[in-house]
């Protein structure tokens, strides 16, 4: 197991390292002088030159890359051009919105999809199954921002159950925080739930066709018992894979959803930073998100090993 983890950790590190190179390289080719961007348009050329010096922009690319990386290890991701505050601090402020949002969405999606998938799989071919699958087809096709609009109109404006957007901060109370995140989480979650329930259903159906299910049934287990005791856990691997991907997707999906609900989250931060060419924020946030995805993948791998004893001993 530890061997397995070590190996995965190594590949995680390699991916992250490559990611830093890519992020750095992509932003190198962005047009515009960071120093001028930072000082604004009224700045004199002298001031810009001084700042370039201070920022080390005159150093060779490699040096700048290395010092970026070095700073990162000390938790220093540079300062935002627009806000002037440290990028790490900005990320810290924003992640407390985006992470709960993505987690909530994942929880909602899972809570809906798994039971639905199990139900549909156990009644495979029935009218209910067909109906559920039709609904999920629909769910996959709905753009989440459009769905979000409808949600806002119905639940926030018509029923006034939840706010239409915004986020007051967790210090206003956990309940109010969750209320603010509910609609966005649902908007993010439902299309994903549609996908996940299809995956869960097909994974279960696949497992139900395996020999060992027949063996279990030959032991006298009912169809239900065979499903619960033998099929589910085996169907978990594809489901966990998709959940892992979804988590990353949800985190990034906040870019659009946070705009619709004007939530002060990472998604909006990075979107704003990208449109305003706030490079340190873009670099920092993108790297942070990439790190998140990579770590999620790592956790998914660990989960595989936890689910499947065959993976525990010696890697793949």
């Amino acid at each position: 197991m530890s061997w397995f983890i070590a190996r995965r950790l190594l590949s995680l590190a390699v991916t992250l390292l490559l990611a830093t190179v890519v992020i750095f390289a992509v932003l190198e080719i962005v047009p515009g002088d960071p120093a001028r961007l930072m000082l604004g348009i009224n700045a004199t050329d002298d001031a810009v030159a001084t700042l370039r010096e201070q920022l080390g922009l005159n150093q060779p690319v490699l040096m700048r890359y290395l010092s970026w990386i070095a700073g990162m290890f000390q938790g220093d991701l540079g300062h935002s051009f627009t806000y002037g505050s440290p990028v790490a601090e900005l990320i810290g402020e924003r992640i407390v919105v985006s992470l709960p949002l993505a987690l909530m969405a994942l929880a909602i999606s899972t809570a809906i999809a798994i039971p639905v998938g199990i139900y549909a799989a156990s009644r495979r071919g029935s009218a209910t199954d067909t109906a559920i699958m039709a609904v999920t087809q629909f769910g996959i096709a709905v753009p989440n921002f459009w769905f979000a609009l409808l949600l806002v109109y119905f639940f926030a404006i018509f029923l006034r159950w939840v706010p239409a957007g915004g986020f007051a901060g967790w210090d206003e109370g956990i309940a109010s925080g969750f209320r603010s995140l509910l609609l966005p989480a649902v908007a993010l979650a439902l299309p994903q739930a549609a996908i996940l329930s299809r995956v869960a259903r097909s994974a279960i159906i696949e497992v139900l066709g395996e020999d060992f299910i027949r063996t279990a049934r030959a032991k006298g287990l009912t169809r239900r018992a065979a499903l619960w005791r033998h099929a589910l856990r085996n169907a978990l691997i594809p489901v966990v894979t998709i959940m892992g991907l979804q988590f990353a997707f949800l985190l990034a999906g906040t870019i659009i959803i946070e705009n619709v609900f004007y939530l002060p989250g990472l998604g909006r931060l990075v979107y704003q930073a990208i449109t305003q060419h706030d490079l340190p924020v873009v670099q920092g946030t993108v790297l942070f998100l990439v790190g998140f995805v990579v770590v999620t993948n790592f956790l998914v791998d660990i989960t595989y090993a936890w689910i499947d004893p065959r993976l525990r001993r010696r890697g793949r």
């Binding site: 609009l149 926030a156 957007g165 002060p264 989250g265 305003q276 060419h277």
Partner: protein
Amino acid sequence: AFAAKDNIVLGVALEPPNLDPTSNAAAAIDEVVYANVFEGLTRIGPNGEVLPALAESWDISEDGKVYTFHLHEGVKFHDGTDFNSEDVVFSLDRARGEDSTNAQKGLFKAIESVEAVDPSTVKVTLSSPQGGFLFNMGWGDAVMVAPESAATNNENPVGTGPFKFSKWNKGSSIEIVRNDDYWGDKVALAKAEFRIIPDAAAATSALLAGDVDGFSNFPAPEAVPQFEADPNFALVIGSTEGETILAMNNKKPPFDNLKVRQAISHAIDRQAIIDGAMFGFGTPIGTHFAPHHPAYRADLIDMYPHDVAKAKELLVEAGYADGFKATLKLPPPTYARRGGEIIASQLREVGIDLEIIPLEWKQWLEGPFKAKDFDLTIVSHTEPMDIGIYANPDYYFQYGTDEAKAIMAKLDATTDTEARYKLLGDMQELITKDAVNAYLFELAKIGVWNAKVEGLWTNSPIQANDLTGVKWKD
């Protein structure tokens, strides 16, 4: 009975880059702190009038060069330090100083010296008389700051106003609370929150859902009818200082050709733009001047009526019988993006094929504004009384003819109101005749707020959300 509500949530479209109005031109800063957190010697009232603020009164010397301000006594900054004449000297010297980063240094250009006569008296000497000096001192860029806190006002603004800064959730909201030690009348609101909602749709839903109590500048004119019909909301349409123009690069062919510019001026249909982009909100203008100002030349609007045939004819005369291609760079606001589409469609009628290029503000400032890298662009000039930009050949649309310069120079030296208005009228006529830009409309200020809220400004002589008079009706 319930106690009247004493807090308010106001929506604002843009998040300020920081909270120091003396450091940055961004209107978003003034929208939060002006008159609320920071005060100047004078202030500008709801209708553009100059009112006393930290200076309780002032004397002007005969020659109009020396202003003696008498300060309120017992004024304290939010951090507890006293406000006195030293702070005024500090503030004004800082703003006009060599290494000042003040975005409106022009406001202080005329100042020769600032002296503290005694703790509550300040004497400001100008190098030449300036008609608008008191008005200038009322700008957000001229507010009073303390030496102790000036450096940290970006994040933690410390002023003398009736509200104190409380917290800033980056990307989300800024909160200010009542300053109980305020020198003047206590404000009715205990707390105010500026909720940052950049998206028009989100703004609409936030209002409808009751998340915010109002927008003094509501960004979605198309959504207004639903508020108009709803007795829970007050809809208050006022004027702004925002002349929305189709700016043309006067130095770049073919826009250096007067006939081309005139053709474009004829080709556009202002009312269609106002209706299509602003859903009817806005006043057509024929020149670069606020129509509610007495010096506005209303007749100029008839100089270039919407006339496609005439426009085509002018293009033929200019040698562009087959029309031409050009770009139209658009900053983010709705008026620009929607107006741009309509203008593109209108110019297509006369054979001018525009490629629309949407830009973020930053890119717009760097490109069209700073580097003059554009053919056409749409922007609203929201500074009050800014016709002087036409005397600056270096301004982004690059007009600044000698004739314009001469008029403006004369204006500066004139103090008589009638004469000033006449000169302003001449200037308007000149730029309209030269079709420097195509003048579209004056932005309307669309205020939508809870019908129980009173005291928010109707008009927008400067960009501010002055909350001092705001309270809830029971």
